[in-house]
Amino acid sequence: MTGGKRGPRRHGGRLRARLEGWLRQHRRGLLDSLAKIRAALPAHLMSAAVLSIALALPAGLFLVVEAGQRLLGDWDGPQRISLYLTDDTTPADARALAAEIGQRSAVGRVEYVSREQALAEFRQHAGVEEALAVLETNPLPITLLVHPQGRTDGERLTALRDELAGLAAVDSAQLDMAWVERWAAIMAALERTIAVIALLLALAVVFVSGNTIRLEIENRREEILVTRLIGATDAYVRRPFLYSGALLGLAGGLGALLLLALAALATGPAIDHLLETYHLGPPPRFFSAGESLALLATATLLGWLGTWLTVQHHLVRLEPGRAGNSAGP
């Protein structure tokens, strides 16, 4: 109602004033939301705990599958066939055979592993020391590790394995690939499962945050009606709730990270031991800073989204003049 002089020279000042007003409104919305959260702290903590668990589950599974895939990645490199030679093969015969196999077009390189080398490597496995002590002689055969020429598919590899298995000096030929393929299939299935679980739990986060905020809206019904009567816009009414929802999501995300860190601490030693025993790749890692931030951002966004849907639905109902809304002259 109060008119002011609006010259071009005043524009910078007006823009600044509007920006300040906007920031003030947001600060008020945030403070308002914090005050309301503090007023109903137990309920909000409970919701945040539920969100934490809902978020920790898919995030934790993601870590597990990722670790599994890294194991797979480690095995992907040495795509190879192990040839265990017969006991009566001498090292000289074995080296000659290795050279002969190395000439084949499908073969890139052949590694010669002597019985002693094999034993030394085997000794590194925990718990086999005592078993070996019982044996008087080295039970391990000479092994040739055949690396195919370039990367090749499973079928051609299998064909090569069958061909090499037919050689007289070869006791058995093992293709490490079969394992790898099976493992890859398991991981792919797990990954798909996790995607579905993650989607369902994301929906749960949206509903939980929406429901928490719905209760808050009910508690502040009168306040909303009064503020609307004195000129509050939809944005003004929505703002503190959206902040509450986003903060709730953020708290859930932080809780999920905390839960996963605790779970990692609890299971870490056992997993490390398992991996060491089977000589498998490096231990699974925790989320990187970037992934942690992505998890927090997703959680915040889901909390905000749930709130937005709820507020949108309830704002329409909380319009003064609608049946059942008593505030008004």
Binding site: M1, E222, E223, V226, L229, I230, T233, G321, G328, P329
Partner: protein
């Protein structure tokens, strides 16, 4: 300032609350709206801030037909109108100061200005010493005055009051009416709905009488 031109209001339930209402209230005028309960006083007052929309006729505020004002613009329109309710509609979860400051906060005024204007409004209604009190600790008359302070703090062009003295004894009612007269004297167009005929009888202001949804 306020002009009703054959305005009617029919609720979705089928109730015809107002029929062909025409009257005008010039800028800076004060008028009373009287009638029995159920005569349509509340409905008429609800039309001006668009809590209800007229179903027929034209409602001109400051020369503009507001009947079809888009919903998104209604909040800004309402900021030009001060509303006072019988049950004062104060929020008991915050002190008097914050209640009065609410319209200014909604409009996004800077804190210093809010402080200045809230104190000026509280001073006007004689409650400057109660700014930190919770409205729940105040008497009914004091609460009504806080409600008035909240309605005028934004310097509205129009002041609407629905039974503002409904719960007050005659002395307090008189006091409240005097306050309205004071705001009216500084140019605020004022419309007060009341059934208290004895109170307004000795005040020299026009009176709009409603009966069964029509003007008498």
């Amino acid at each position: 300032m306020i002009e009703f031109d054959r305005v009617s209001k029919r609720y979705p339930s089928g109730l015809q609350a107002l029929r062909g209402i025409s009257f005008g209230l010039g800028r800076g005028q004060l008028a009373f709206l009287t009638g029995h309960s159920g005569a349509g006083k509340s409905t008429l007052l609800k039309l001006i801030p668009l809590i209800e929309r007229p179903s027929g006729g034209r409602l001109l505020i400051d020369g503009t037909d507001v009947g079809g004002l888009p919903a998104a613009r209604v909040p800004f329109y309402r900021r030009r109108i001060g509303l006072i309710f019988q049950d004062h509609n104060l929020l008991f979860d915050r002190p008097v100061f914050d209640n009065v400051a609410l319209p200014l906060e909604i409009a996004g005024h800077p804190p210093l200005e809010i402080g200045r204007r809230v104190r000026a409004a509280l001073d006007k209604v004689g409650l400057l010493d109660k700014e930190r009190a919770n409205p729940i600790a105040l008497s009914t008359g004091e609460r009504q005055r806080v409600g008035i302070a909240r309605a005028v703090v934004n310097r509205p062009a129009i002041l609407l009051a629905d039974e503002p003295t409904g719960n007050l004894d005659p002395d307090l009612s008189r006091e409240i009416m005097t306050l309205f007269e004071q705001f009216n004297q500084i140019g605020v167009t004022t419309l007060i709905a009341t059934h208290d005929v004895s109170l307004i009888g000795d005040m020299d202001h026009p009176c709009i009488r409603l009966e069964g949804g029509e003007l008498r």
